[in-house]
């Protein structure tokens, strides 16, 4: 067997402790009055609405209208706009184009004591009120409403010298055509503003009288003063939302108060600490040295799981964690030790045949691998299916529609992450540690591995 250096154990051990500490507590600095987050810890995890309290709602076109994709985009953008207006920034919004559904989830606003979630949902679903007003003020003369807009779309126009710029085109209905012609006559050289539920979404200047019911809006934050593609699409979507030919209905909704959620979070915290303590005592008592190594690996597995939800590495986006998600994490700790138990048992078996310690460890780790893989493959299959069923828009939900609840999604996710983390820590790292630690003279007693005294 190839010997693994004695120092390897200490390196892996310290690395795991470092990862565990930082993934739990994070690393924060201070720059004057500002605190800077270098590494995100548990307190930075985005908690789901079952913990923070919040609102979950599914909207659909009323009266069974079959909406087009553009119309769904319009619905999405209006809900976006309204959420931002309500000062809700930490929301999740999932449109489902194949079933014309849109799911919204957002946490309770922490600063508001008497927040009325029912009111918030109603507001989101209410019919968009789009008004064209003379001038750029809110009390300007009402010229047209959203009903008179046929559609808005993005295109590019030539601006001379081979330059192109992106514009938002507007098409009016026959009725709107006339009104718009009058309006542009009256406000030529001045501004006409477009208002969506009391928010000004655009205030272009009228360059000429428009009689054919078609116009375009230029301008934006591009370096040439034009729209970026994103800006143009956003504006077109908003205008389309104001012109939606259908109302939204609330298909399902749920609210959870924050007091209930924080209470549950405390409970889950206690549960995970209790589980860890029990597993530590059990593993060390039954498997001694391999048991201790297994526990260190387990800490590593837990820290990888936490990293995967907290956004520890900026490359991976943070994940919305729910109570079933935490349960999945705890469960994967309990199941993760299985890899170490199978290996430790095999090593014990080998020791009883009287081989050398190194030989036993080599044989034991090798023969246990297939059983470990077996155990994890089925869990991976199940975890992926859980993610598909309860997750936001994916292949599965385009066939069957969005789920009425998305809390279990996190369970599938933590389960999957747990299995992957288990392979990294519970299998790879713990084997490395075990081989390395068995090179230390004072730890070569066979009894430490569950064998007889000395053959």
């Amino acid at each position: 067997m190839k010997r693994v250096g004695k120092w390897v154990f200490f390196v892996v051990f310290i690395l795991i402790l470092f990862f565990t500490y930082t993934s739990v507590f994070g690393i924060y600095g201070e720059n004057g009055d500002y605190s800077i987050t270098y590494i995100k810890g548990i307190q930075d995890i985005r908690w789901g609405i079952d913990i923070k309290g919040g609102v979950e709602a599914v909207f659909a076109p009323a009266d069974g209208v079959d909406a087009t994709d553009d119309q769904m985009n319009a619905v999405k953008s209006i809900i976006d706009l309204r959420l931002v207006n309500q000062n809700v920034t930490d929301y999740e919004l999932y449109p489902d184009f194949s079933n014309d559904r849109i799911t919204v989830r957002f946490p309770w606003k922490s600063d508001e004591e008497n927040y009325d979630p029912g009111e918030a949902i109603k507001e989101l679903a209410s019919t968009a009120q789009m008004v064209f007003r003379g001038g750029s003020e809110k009390d300007g003369e009402e010229l047209l409403t959203g009903k008179e807009v046929n559609r808005a779309y993005v295109s590019t126009i030539e601006t001379g010298n081979g330059n192109h710029s992106i514009v938002v085109n507007l098409e009016f209905t026959d009725e709107g055509k006339q009104k718009f012609a009058e309006a542009t006559k009256k406000y030529q050289g001045q501004k006409i503003s477009i208002w969506m539920d009391d928010t000004c979404i655009s205030a272009p200047t009228v360059n000429s009288v428009i009689t054919d019911g078609k116009c375009y809006i230029e301008g934006g934050s591009d370096k040439n003063g034009g729209f970026t593609a994103e800006e143009a699409t956003a504006l077109a979507n908003k205008i389309n939302a104001g012109a939606l030919p259908f109302n939204l209905k609330i298909e399902s909704y749920g609210t959870i108060s924050p007091s209930l959620g924080t209470y549950a979070l405390t409970a889950m915290g206690i549960a995970s600490i209790a589980a860890l303590c029990f597993i530590f005592i059990f593993m060390v008592a039954v498997y001694r040295l391999p048991g201790f190594v297994a526990f260190i690996a387990l800490l590593g597995q837990l820290s990888v799981s936490i990293m995967a939800v907290s956004g520890y590495f900026p490359v991976f986006a943070s994940f919305t964690m729910t109570i079933p998600g935490i349960a999945g994490m705890i469960l994967s700790i309990g199941m993760g030790v299985d890899a170490n138990i199978i290996t430790a048992e095999r090593i014990k078996d080998e020791l009883w045949t009287g081989k050398t310690l190194d030989g036993c460890i080599a044989k034991g780790t090798k023969s246990s691998l297939s059983a470990i893989i077996d155990g994890n493959i089925t869990i991976i299959i199940v975890a992926i299916i859980l993610i598909l069923v309860f997750g936001p828009a994916n292949i599965f939900s385009s066939l069957f529609g969005v789920s009425t609840t998305g809390l279990i999604y996190a369970f599938g996710y933590t389960l999957l992450v747990g299995v992957i983390a288990n392979f990294i820590m519970g299998v790879a790292a713990s084997r490395l540690m075990l081989r390395s630690v068995s090179g230390l003279k004072f730890l070569r007693n066979r009894r430490l591995y569950g064998g007889k005294k000395k053959s």
């Binding site: 029912g118 399902s252 409970a267 593993m283 089925t378 869990i379 598909l388 069957f400 389960l415």
Partner: protein, 379 residues
């Protein structure tokens, strides 16, 4: 091979079958006549609103006020509110039973009725959920499709995996054990009067994945021991030895898994968090059942099946032989098979000898590959 336990699982198998069938039968009867299955509004559609309030109020007063505010029939559940620091805080849960989503306005009316009637009792919506019936049905089909897909994938995996270890018959028995576990999970929900909801689907999927693990590990051991113990050992002996050797691992893994999910359960019981209890309790029972069924159901069934099919094979061979040798005599087949029955014991060793040749071949090739890989690791 070191072996701590010496339990004759095969001999006791009838007891295990009896226990499992007995539990299922009792649960089934209770389920039909006493505790009907409840399905959550997530699938059926409907509305549940939970209010918290402080102070002592008569339950009758509350139900009357609420019922006046709406045309729908409401069913009420009362509980203590443990989440509140106020010791005199209560919860009331209103379920609108006509399986349709009530609007936000309708819900507001009920809330208003409460605050008007009991202005000093701090009525507050703690939790509400409302699902449209058609959407609930869609979600239900989605879940069913997911469970079927998972089952197909798991059975596919079992089929591929068992080709190597026990053959088709072992795979079928693993699936029987799996179905056993799922039935138990269902009955946990039914017996504790927990509504079938997203938690149920999560637990069912989880058990689908977990249950076959133990079974595969044990069959792997059986295959290994078949080679080690030689042709003289009967299927029952090999299986017993394998299960006993695996038992430490099975028990230890179950203990750590139980410790994990168990601590979730205990804490959620102490804190009285329904949504976690209905997740952790069936999960825990399902995991125990998964481990029990691989040892007490899957393998004993397989041994029974194996013995039976071996017997039949022998009978057939014997029948053929006697038919050929006594071609002139027109003795009935029944007589021949009777003879075969009588001579079964004698022919068994012969049959086993045939098997052993095959097994030895396998062993040789396996050993060779073992040695090759060992050499690699020793370099």
């Amino acid at each position: 091979m070191r072996q701590k336990f010496h339990i004759d699982f095969i001999k006791n198998s009838k007891i295990y079958f009896g226990i499992s069938l007995g539990i299922m039968l009792v649960c089934l009867i209770l389920n039909i006549f006493v505790i009907p299955t409840r399905v959550d509004i997530q699938f059926t559609g409907g509305t549940i609103v939970k209010y918290s309030y402080s102070g002592d109020l008569k339950e009758k007063e509350i139900t009357e006020v609420a019922q006046k505010a709406t045309k729908d029939t409401i069913s009420f559940t009362f509980a203590e509110n443990l989440a509140s620091s106020d010791s005199n805080s209560h919860m009331v849960s209103l379920e609108f039973t006509n399986a349709k989503a009530i609007t936000v306005d309708e819900q507001d009316e009920v809330t208003k009725a409460f605050t008007d009637a009991f202005p000093d009792n701090n009525f507050k919506v703690e939790e509400s959920s409302s699902v449209d019936a058609s959407k609930g049905a869609n979600f239900f089909f989605k879940c069913i499709a997911a469970v079927i897909l998972a089952a197909v994938l798991i059975i596919g995996y079992v089929a591929i995996r068992f080709k190597k270890i026990g053959g088709m018959s072992a795979g079928v028995m693993a699936v029987v054990a799996l179905v056993h576990d799922l039935i138990i999970v269902y009955f946990v929900f039914a017996m504790f009067n927990m509504a079938l909801d997203d938690n149920f689907i999560a637990v069912v999927l989880m058990i689908l994945g977990y249950s076959v693990n133990d079974t595969i590990v044990i069959y792997d051991r059986i295959r290994e021991n078949r080679k080690k113990m030689g042709p003289k050992a009967t299927t029952a002996e090999v299986s017993n030895a394998s299960m006993n050797q695996c038992l430490t691992r099975t028990i230890c893994t179950t203990i750590t898994t139980m410790a994990a999910i168990g601590s979730v359960l205990v804490v959620s019981l102490i804190y009285n968090i329904d949504s976690i209890i209905s997740f952790a309790l069936p999960m825990m029972v399902g995991l125990i059942s998964g481990c029990y069924s691989s040892i007490c159901i899957a393998v004993p069934l397989w041994v029974m099946w194996k013995n039976n099919s071996d017997k039949k094979k022998l009978e057939k061979e014997k029948a053929k032989k006697s038919a050929a040798s006594d071609a002139k005599k027109t003795s009935s087949k029944a007589a021949a098979s009777k003879k075969a029955d009588l001579k079964k014991k004698e022919t068994k060793p012969a049959k086993k000898a045939e098997n052993s040749v095959k097994l030895e071949k396998e062993e040789k090739s396996d050993d060779a590959s073992d040695k090759a890989s060992e050499n690699n690791t020793e370099e």
